[in-house]
Each structure stands twice: as structure tokens, then as C-alpha cells.
Symmetry: C2
Subunit: 493 residues, 2 copies
């Protein structure tokens, strides 16, 4: 069984298969009988819960409050904002009826044709429309602004090709929707929330991200600007990990949301929206994990430390447990999540493989000889380094090791990412090299034509115009036309 | 504006209207453009979040883990369990298509008739079917049991008559689903979770509940036993506030879920499910609140203490704020949520009325004279008692007052409930008295006929056979037949 656990596709053999295997074998998620929808298993959900809790705290620190808006949105709402409907028309689930027909024996169930809805309802793919329809009633004067709402919910986009966490028809996310009196304030809020996402990705997930602004083609449907954080996976592909949109007055105009300014004159309200989803789970898995399984950042690991006794007989187990108990207590007092696994039905070897697969950051093991020598075995999951250390001071050692792992996996991911960001000025060279992954910093003439040509010929897309990059003008590598800035081009998930 | 806030229907005039008014005026929720679906506003959602956090903690203490299962369930799954489909067939939302059709200008959107789903999908009204279809793959041997999963999610039941929180087409809830090797273990789990609900209702919501078992007619569709907690509202009506079901092997048989026991023989798995929903918000509002607005239990109040400075000019405000700051800091250090409302745009009188309406448990106010005299005004929301006290020791006073309010509102609700529980042995008397509300303890012959007759003639239903009641046999008040126990009969929400 321990061997079976280890029987994971190697990243070098097939990165994509390695990911799919790992999601299932580490008990994170599985496919469901509903096309494109997944079941998030308890271990996977526990990681998502930790993400939620931290993000929620960070949102609230910026003044955001949670609320809840309906799952179903009247179809007509989508038509109000022209770009929005064009963006989402092809991927919505539509509720047309509200009743099954049940036969006496309960064996056959038909949709009752008489229970057709007057207006069809869409399962929300995103909630701008119903929220702005609501804000109309909440906003009258400048005193009512800003409104800073967020909701944690499920959304549905009928995707043709799905992969667990990365792209599923139903997914869990948060969507923030803010309303402001001025353009400047809304723009600032959109950028503030992007910074929250970047801070979360780097300091909690240990995932380095590049912040930037999307090209017009890649913007959210209805936005004037879409800001993004882009992470690099171990195959050099990009994963868009969170977006924040400056929506201008588009939704305010579509839903007629005005406020009276301090001069008592009506003005349209300015908007932002921003979201991250269970897609972050995909980034977390793909950035850190290895051929032995998951590698989790300590700050998001459901179990931070696992302790396995290696005993001969019950008496020795009692001795080991008695020796370990104060350590378990002290670690828990420090707020560290400890699992003591003395389950006799599973062998230590199986447990070791299983916790490696599940990415538990630190593993302690204690056997008979350790008891005699006052030692304990400690292993860190990120480097798989194992050593036998003195039992005294183990609490301090574990605490420091958790901090070090958190830092180390981020540094490792950043070093990998930095080593795979290239400036490139030659399209032929680009076409050849982009196949192997990486982020390419290339001058772009700003036209959708060039963007489309690159995508068609290389499957790579413009990820963003990066913020933290000193720009110099140049020449578009494809069209030869003048370009004001370099953009990041990469293949992506 | 303060007057408008107070313009709440009186309970004595129209209890039902008072409730509807209060939900809107206290900013808890509002109707949405989607029939029967509500928008939970930030203040209402903040209360629900506190409920969720506490319940989630209590569930986890019993070993339960969270997971997430799909929103959409294949129609055929519902047919597998005969009673289940009969119970839910009339109230489901059905997804038949997965795509809109968009025209060029974005103005018209039609459902694309070519994108009809092969199998229609139901928006979950509850998730037993898809969860037991999943458990089939998770359960092989006795070693895989028990499975203790919960999910926090939205569900949809197409209700014809809706009221905010009490009965809405979409609502938020948690649904726990457990799988066990033995009947005894499953029965014990169903009862354990009922006790968790009762403890939460009484110790956190301050709502006294009667625990008991439902009659066969009132059971959950597919259950062998449904346990319930029943609370009494201020109009004497019952509100079913949480249910826990012993499902026997019904779903295991429908979805063919067996395990190999220790003798390596296959047996069907035993099941429970249990849930509470945003309906609890209705109970919370109706049990404690009064003609001035909400009364919230301190343990669930988003703001526990509000402090309002009553200043003349900015200089005095600075003095008051400087004096109060250490108190604010000390209260927050004790984990108490404090709002200091020095917003100059609103008058103190408006603030007082608003925080009363919103049920903030303790209000402090400090003016110029208080500064001189080293005093402060304190008001408790439950009794509306107001007094001027010494500033010294205010932190301790507030802390104790919060504890006292939590206790007092529970005691008050329990005294009211206890004063409205009656033994009754005469059907004519019952018919007359039940109009005025109250719980009636009556002997029942155990037949569905008698139950139906009572319901038809009085609109009252059997709420449960209560646990904590010393039963003596007697004679059914309606049929005159022998009865082994008294049941609780009441009108209900």
C-alpha cells in the first residue's frame, strides 16, 4: 500500500498527469458524476478553508463586509451590459423549470412541462448584474458611499474542458464588489485589492506572483482595466491566480445607479470587482509539490506537524506517548496543529509515505532507541532532509523549522521563476523557446492583431503589462512597429 | 430620520408585519428580483457568520470535517430513493440548458435550443443522493468508517409562499452526512448532533428549545427517525429550528453502499444527516426582539458595545476620545467587539435609535458633563435600563453586563415558553385555545388520521414527542383511543 501511494507519475514524464494523479492520491478532490464538477474532499477542503479564513481577515482589514446575493439571476439582467453578456453567453447554466413530476412509485421523474418559468434564470457565472441591480436601492447620496461588499459563494461556468481546481464548471470563489463616488477612489480600490491578493499569494501560499494589467483582449467582460497576479508553474506555464477589475461606470449606467454629490447633482457611481477562486488550490499544488507528493506551506497546511511512534508492543507505546505528550501540548500552545498518529492498524512505513504524499511540513518519529538515547527523528517535507536530534529543545526546533520551510519554499519558487523570465526581441527565437515554458518579456505594439497572431502561432498569450519592470520603448518583435512597453507573454493554464 | 427608524409595526398590532418590517429596517435582508430569494445584507450576514463559526467549531469537536459536493444533481439520482423523490419532486429548480444565445449587439439573449442537456440537472434541495453516490467509492471496509462530513452551502426549494429567513427558495445551510458500521452508532450520532444544535440554540442564541422526535408524517423524506429542536416565538407559534435524521440503510441500499465487516462479509452502511439553516436567523429575531427593534445575544452580536461621544465642538470630542481610548483598548483586549461612533454627520439621537434598532447589547455615551464628573452613561438593550455610572470600573461593568444580558434573554425566553406550555385533554378546549398560540401537550393515538384531522381543523401540527417529559399513558383527546404518550401540538412557522 505504501508503494501504491508512491506510485505517482513523475513530473518530468508527464507534468499534466502528475498533477491529475496528485489531486486524487493526496485526497484533495475527485471528479463527480456531473460533467465538469468536482467533489472537494475533506483534506482539500481543509486547505481551502485556511485560505478563506486568511483572505477574509485581510479583506475585513480593508473595510470590506460580507453579504450574500441570490444564486439565480434573471436572464434579462445579462443583456443590460453589452460586453458582459457577450463574455458570458456561451457558458451559462439555464434554469427553465421549477418542478419535477413524480409518479406514484417514485420510479420515474419527468420535468413538468406546465412548470416552465416565465423568465429563465441563469446560475450566476459572476454577480455584477444582480449586485448592481441591488446597489441601485442602496445608493442615494455621497453619504452612502463607498459600499464595500464581498461574498463567498459558488459560481457556474459551463466549461468544455475541465481539470480539478484549475477549470471546473462549478467552482467556489469570493467576489468583491465595491461602489465609489470617484474614479480615482475606485481605481485605487481595484489596485489595493490586487495588492492584498499578491500579499496573500506570496506570504501565505509561498507563491511568487507578478502583478500587472491585462491587455484589452484579456480584460474581464465589462471592465475598463483588469489587474492580475500571474504565477509560474514548474513547467514554466503561467497561471492567472487572481484578478481585480476597474469597471468604470459601465454597470452603474446599465443599472442606472446614480448618487447625489455634495453639490446635490446626480452622478453615476464608479465600480470595482475582484475575485480569487479554488483555482488557487491548483497554483498551490503545482508550484511546490514534487514527485513524492504535495509540499504545503506551513501557514496553510491542515496538519503542520505529524508525530509517529515506532513501537514494539503496547508498553513501549505508552512510554513513547508519555515522553511525547509534553511536546505535543507545548506545540499546540504555540498554535501549531499537531497530529499524533498512533493508529496500530497502519505500519509506520505506510504512514511516512502517506504524510509525505499529503505534504505535512514536519514529521517527527520516535522509537525504542530514541527513548534510550533521548533523541527524536525529524524530517522536513520541503527538502526531505532527515536527522536524528536531541529530544531537548525539539519544540523550538519544530517552530523554527516551520518558519524556515515557509520561507524556503517561497525562495525556491521565486528562484525558479526568476530563472525562467527572459527578455526576448526576436519572434523566431520566441516561437522556438516558448515551447519549453517561461515568461517572455517582449515589446508589443499594442494591437489586438499582433496579440491574435502570437496566440494562433504559439498558443501563448499576453499575460500582462508588468508593474515592477523598468520599461524602455522598443520595436514589436512580430510587427516591427514601435512599442512603448514590454509585456509578459507565456503559455498558460 | 430617528423617528422613521422607530416607525416599526408593534408586535401586539401585527406580529407578522413587525417581523417583516424589522428584517428590512434593521438591515438584515431584503427581497431580491428573483422570486422567493433574498439578499442577506452585511449586518444580517455578520450575525450568520458568527453562527457559522461557532457551529463549525462545535461540529469539528465531534470529529466532523468539511467537504464540498456539487450544486447540481443528475435527475436520475432522485428516483433511486422512493420516499426522497416523492418528498422533493414538487419543489426543485431544474437546469435543462447550458448556454444562452447572444446576438451581436448584446441586446437579446435566448436560450440556445441546441444546447439542451442530455440529462436534466436539479439544483440541490439537499444532498443525500449525490453524497451517497460518492460514499460508494469511499467505503470498502469497516476501516473506512465512520465518515463524518459536513458542507456549508446554498440549497434551493421552490417555495410558493416565502418570508425572509423563515422560508426562502434559496437558503444557506449546513448539511452533515455521516456513514457508520452499525445501527447503534448511527442512531447515537443523529442524537449527538441534535444535542449540539440544542446547546448552540440555548447557550449562544439564547433560545430555549424542546428536543424530541417527529411523527412519521413529519419525518424527513427517506428517514427512519427525525429528531428536532422546537423553539417558541413570541406569538406562541413553534419554529422548527434544526433537525437530525437517522436514515437507517435507505440511502446505502439505494446507492448500493456496502462495507466488508470484520468477518469480511458485506453489509449495508448506516446513515445520518442533519442540518440547520439561515432559518435560525428567524428564530433569533423573533424570540428576543421588541417594539424598538432587534435584541441580540451578546455572543452573536456583530457589535457588542457601541460608544457614542456627545460633544460640543472638536476640542471636546478630542478630550472625550482621549478619555475613552484606554477603555476601548481594554475592552478589545478582552475580545469584545467595540464600535466607537464619532461620525459627525449623524446626531447622537439618530445613532441611539439606530443601534437600538440593530440590537447592539450595550451602549455607552459620554458628554461634557460626564467629563467633568468622571461618569459615563450605560444602557443595556435587553431591558433598555439606562444609568449614569462612575467612569472607573466601566470595563468590568461592561464585561459583566454582556454576560448578564446573554443569561437574561435566555431566562426571559424560557419563562415565556414555560408559561405557554399546557397539558390539554379536551379537544374542544384545545381548538379554542390553540388560536392564541402555545405548545399543547396532548395524548395522541399514534395514527396519521388523527394527526391529519387536527391539522385540518386547527392548522396545528404535531411538533414532536418531547424527550424531557415524564410520560404517562392516557386517551387520545380526538379519537378517544388509547395513547402511550403526550406529543407537542402547536401552530408553526
Amino acid at each position: 500500500m505504501a508503494k501504491e501511494l508512491k506510485n505517482l507519475t513523475k513530473r518530468a514524464d508527464n507534468y499534466s498527469q502528475w498533477y491529475n494523479d496528485l489531486v486524487v492520491k493526496a485526497d484533495l478532490a475527485e471528479l463527480s458524476p456531473v460533467r465538469g464538477c468536482m467533489i472537494i474532499k475533506p483534506y482539500g477542503y481543509a486547505i481551502w478553508e485556511k485560505m478563506q479564513q486568511q483572505l477574509d481577515k485581510m479583506f475585513k482589514q480593508t473595510g470590506v463586509q460580507n453579504a450574500y446575493f441570490p444564486l439565480l439571476i434573471p436572464k434579462s439582467f445579462f443583456s443590460r451590459e453589452a460586453e458582459h453578456v457577450a463574455g458570458f453567453a456561451k457558458e451559462c447554466a439555464v434554469v427553465t423549470h421549477y418542478r419535477l413530476r413524480s409518479t406514484e412509485d417514485g420510479k420515474e421523474v419527468e420535468v413538468d412541462p406546465n412548470a416552465k418559468l416565465d423568465e429563465e434564470l441563469i446560475i450566476r457565472p459572476t454577480s455584477e448584474t444582480i449586485i448592481w441591480n441591488t446597489y441601485k436601492n442602496w445608493i442615494h447620496s455621497w453619504r452612502d458611499l463607498p459600499i464595500l461588499c464581498n461574498q463567498w459563494c459558488n459560481v457556474m461556468r459551463w466549461e468544455m474542458r475541465t481539470r480539478p481546481f484549475l477549470r471546473t464548471s462549478e467552482f467556489l470563489w469570493q467576489e468583491g464588489h465595491t461602489a465609489h463616488a470617484t474614479k480615482e477612489e475606485a481605481e485605487a480600490k481595484a489596485q489595493e485589492m490586487l495588492k492584498v491578493y499578491a500579499e496573500f499569494a506570496e506570504n501565505y501560499m509561498g507563491v511568487p506572483v507578478l502583478q500587472g494589467v491585462k491587455s484589452e483582449t484579456e480584460r474581464f467582460a465589462g471592465a475598463l482595466n483588469t489587474y492580475t497576479i500571474e504565477a509560474m508553474m514548474q513547467d514554466g506555464k503561467a497561471l492567472q491566480s487572481g484578478t481585480s477589475h476597474f469597471l468604470g461606470q459601465n454597470f452603474a449606467k446599465s443599472f442606472d445607479v446614480t448618487y447625489l454629490n455634495k453639490e446635490n447633482k446626480p452622478e453615476y457611481v464608479w465600480a470595482t470587482s475582484w475575485g480569487v477562486s479554488t483555482r488557487l488550490m491548483g497554483a498551490l499544488i503545482m508550484v511546490h509539490s514534487d514527485d513524492n507528493g504535495l509540499v504545503l506551506p506551513p501557514k496553510l497546511a491542515p496538519i503542520q506537524v505529524v508525530i509517529v511512534p515506532i513501537n514494539k508492543g503496547d508498553e513501549q507505546l505508552a512510554q513513547i506517548t508519555a515522553k511525547l505528550q509534553p511536546v505535543i501540548d507545548q506545540l499546540r500552545e504555540l498554535g501549531i496543529t499537531v497530529k499524533y498518529d498512533d493508529n496500530p492498524a497502519k505500519r509506520p512505513g505506510f504512514k511516512f509515505a502517506d504524510y509525505e504524499l499529503k505534504g505535512v511540513p514536519v514529521r517527527l518519529a520516535m522509537g525504542g532507541r530514541d527513548l534510550e538515547n533521548n533523541t527524536i527523528e525529524i524530517m522536513r517535507r520541503d527538502t526531505l532532509e532527515k536527522e536524528n536530534v536531541s529530544f531537548d529543545g525539539i519544540v523550538e526546533l519544530v517552530k523554527n523549522m516551520l518558519e524556515d520551510i515557509q520561507k524556503n519554499i517561497f525562495e525556491k519558487a521565486r528562484a525558479y521563476r526568476d530563472a525562467h523570465v527572459y527578455e526576448c526581441d526576436n519572434y523566431e527565437e520566441f516561437k522556438e523557446r516558448v515551447k519549453d515554458g517561461g515568461f517572455f518579456l517582449c515589446h508589443w505594439d499594442g494591437t489586438a492583431e499582433t496579440e491574435a497572431k502570437i496566440k494562433e502561432e504559439t498558443q501563448a498569450t499576453i499575460r500582462c503589462v508588468p508593474f515592477a519592470y523598468e520599461q524602455t520603448p522598443g520595436v514589436d518583435m512580430v510587427s516591427g512597429k514601435p512599442a512603448v512597453a514590454r509585456v509578459i507573454i507565456a503559455r498558460s493554464y
